[in-house]
């Protein structure tokens, strides 16, 4: 790894942060227990966030700083020995936390019992995407031991990236279900243009299950969805932003300015590009502003 020249610092920092905090940003994220105000119960079924929704408000902030001050490398230089979480204030965090609250409410409505992990490990998806498999392997061990310690038998994921990692990458001895497979019978009448996350639609085949609200279909929808540009936001922020703008404009040209999606990365990138975006799960959060 040390001889890697490409995006040298960005990749090194992302790697170093794993050993510092277990996630690519090197920060301590809020646990789902904190966000939901519950403590772990003995339930063998766990609602797992994989830290994904909690990391994105920080990514959003970091990107807005990059947009203003230039490359990540410069920023990383400044902060490399400091604690990110003390310096970077998350941006629009409620848009992300409300998805977690919405997930919990939707499961309650569907009468599904679940608990959360107090010490919830990161899902490892960014490391996997970047091809940093030595960290993916380590992360798998951490997840396995946490699941075993808590006698977890069934996992309900809410981020498509977490679901993909747990279902298709790691070989864990637990049942993995994505939340929309459990709540597709619940309906709400909130109206928004739907953006299908690529991983969910194409790699996990979850499309109809998302249509639990009054979804307006844009061009390029379902399995034919177009990417939000989010996955390359750290390495190529400008390109990522332009892709989000194009896709966002395509979405709102369906006739409505409100966008609803089902992935923290998509949500982050649409918010960054200035669109009125929310997670579908937020519709169930009971938050007044998530109407």
């Amino acid at each position: 790894m040390t001889s890697v020249k490409i995006e040298l610092q960005a990749l090194r920092i992302i790697e170093k942060n794993f050993y510092r905090s277990g996630n690519p940003l090197g920060i301590k994220t809020k646990s789902p227990a904190e966000i939901l105000g519950i403590s772990r119960n003995e339930c063998r079924t766990i609602l797992y966030t994989g830290q994904s929704y909690q990391l994105m408000p920080y990514v959003l902030r970091i990107l807005s700083i990059i947009d203003k001050f230039g490359k990540l490398e410069k920023l990383a230089n400044l902060f490399s020995n400091l604690n990110f979480s003390k310096l970077i204030i998350p941006k629009m965090e409620n848009r992300f936390y409300s998805a977690i609250r919405g997930a919990a409410n939707a499961l309650k409505n569907a009468k599904i019992d679940f608990g959360v992990l107090l010490n919830e490990p990161y899902d490892g998806s960014l490391y996997y995407d970047l091809g940093m498999d030595h960290i993916v392997d380590e992360n798998e061990k951490i997840i396995r031991s946490e699941f075993e310690k808590n006698k977890v038998e069934r996992i309900i994921t809410i981020s498509p990236h977490s679901c993909y990692m747990l279902k298709k990458v790691y070989s864990l001895d637990v049942e993995v279900i994505h939340i929309y497979e459990l709540i597709s019978n619940i309906k709400c009448n909130k109206k928004a243009v739907i953006h299908d996350p690529c991983i969910l639609a194409r790699k996990l085949g979850i499309v109809t299950q998302l249509r639990i609200f009054n979804a307006v279909e844009p061009e390029n929808t379902g399995k034919n969805t177009l990417c939000c540009g989010g996955p390359i936001e750290i390495l190529f922020p400008q390109l990522s932003l332009q892709i989000a703008k194009s896709r966002g404009n395509e979405l709102i040209s369906a006739g409505l300015n409100k966008i609803a999606t089902a992935c923290p990365v998509c949500l982050m990138n649409f918010l960054r590009a200035g669109f009125d975006a929310r997670d579908i799960l937020s519709f169930f959060s009971g938050d007044a502003n998530e109407d």
């Binding site: 995407d129 690529c198 990417c227």
Partner: protein, 393 residues
């Protein structure tokens, strides 16, 4: 690594208004055409499954098919050569063409891969690209930005300006019809003057020793039919077992390239010949007397053993995945390998040798797999390539 310099270029590319205009025009007409065509030929979707099986089987038997194709071509009177890499490909081609002053060339990514035109030009041979898009790229000293539509990145206004500057004898106007007419008249004499024609092939049938060249302009027909000599440079992954397999592959290729049916389907199996006088066969009736095929390996046979790269060998070079890739839609052929563009182009660069660091741009969104007739998921290949870069494999 290319990506390091490229990072600084991205901003400039994103601000290129001409590029954005040209891309959006090309992508929207591709989408309209393709939708119409698929409506008219819904059986194409069934055919792709069969073609995927044909290609899988062919990649599996790649070496055996090279032998069969060679045997049958030789029997048909074709001189067949085998080049293990780009350098050998250039050497063989030069040996076959060193006596030529003027060459006309049909569009071929395989020739591009070994930089054949530039090489022959460096030896003092005049080589003319005769496909309109390639001709424009040649005139602009640019690189082909799409495997089917090489000048996809240029709006008509830029093309006219460049052609007016370069083609002293013809003045083209802003009207596309006029541009085509001007280039046609400019190239007309070159076809007659040429000592040889160079082409690639879209697919080869081993059993009959035939190559198929799909085209719309008629330039490949002229370039391979008029001069006394025809040299075809063909990647070994293009070989399939039978002629009926080859036709199926060709049909899926043109459909996904956005054509209901191509204007011309050239099937070439031997040099031109006649037996009209006393049934005695004489070569070079109206077409070329000499026909040479250079089968190019350049990493393909090795790739056929690689779990990930062998998938890329199934590629028909239809170009669909590029039109529909979100990164390509922003950067055009600036994204990809030096020769082959787009996500699949990076996989092809891994096969044929070159810098693959651009793999880090991929969104891993698999949109390419959704629109690809062969269902090739470049994201899987590119993630593997990232690993290779990181771990210096």
């Amino acid at each position: 690594m290319r990506i390091e310099e490229f990072k600084n270029e991205i901003k400039k590319i994103l601000q290129d208004k001409n590029l954005a205009i040209a891309l959006s025009r090309a992508i929207s007409s591709y989408r309209i055409n393709r939708a119409k065509i698929m409506d008219k030929f819904p059986n194409t979707y069934k055919l792709v499954e069969e073609v995927r099986r044909i290609k899988e089987d062919s990649v599996e038997r790649i070496q055996e098919l090279v032998e069969t194709a060679t045997e049958n071509m030789v029997e048909n009177g074709i001189d067949v050569h085998f080049a293990k890499d780009a350098e050998e490909g250039r050497k063989i081609a030069y040996k076959l063409l060193s006596d030529c002053n003027c060459i006309v060339k049909a569009k071929s990514m395989t020739c591009e891969e070994i930089r054949l035109r530039e090489f022959l030009e460096s030896k003092g041979i005049e080589v003319w690209e005769t496909d309109l898009g390639e001709f424009i790229v040649q005139m602009l000293n640019d690189k082909p930005m799409h495997i089917i539509t090489p000048a996809i990145h240029l709006p008509r206004e830029t093309i006219v300006k460049a052609l007016n500057d370069k083609m002293d004898c013809v003045k083209a106007s802003n009207n596309i019809q006029e541009i085509v007419k001007a280039v046609k008249s400019y190239l007309r004499n070159k076809f007659f003057e040429a000592d040889a024609g160079i082409s690639g092939a879209n697919v080869v049938a081993a059993e009959t020793g035939s190559m198929i060249i799909i085209e719309n302009e008629g330039n490949a027909r002229l370039a391979t039919g008029l001069p006394e000599k025809h040299v075809a440079i063909i990647g070994v992954e293009k070989i399939v077992p039978t002629l009926s397999d080859a036709i199926k592959v060709a049909e899926v290729t043109w459909r996904f390239a956005g054509y209901a049916v191509p204007s011309y389907l050239n099937i070439i199996s031997s040099p031109s010949k006649t037996g009209d006088i006393e049934k005695i066969i004489v070569k070079g009736a109206h077409g070329p007397k000499d026909l040479h095929v250079v089968f190019l390996d350049n990493g393909r046979i090795k790739a056929s053993q690689d779990e990930y790269l062998k998938e890329a060998l199934l590629c028909l070079r239809c170009g669909s995945c590029m039109y529909e890739c979100p990164i390509y839609q922003k950067l055009s052929g600036h994204w990809g390998g030096e020769v082959y563009t787009g996500g699949i182009g990076i996989a092809w660069t891994a096969i044929t040798g070159g810098d693959v660091s651009m793999a880090f741009l991929c969104l891993l969104c698999s949109r390419c797999a959704e629109v690809c007739p062969m269902k090739i998921d470049s994201s899987k290949i590119l993630r593997e390539l990232r690993k290779k870069i990181l771990y210096k494999k």
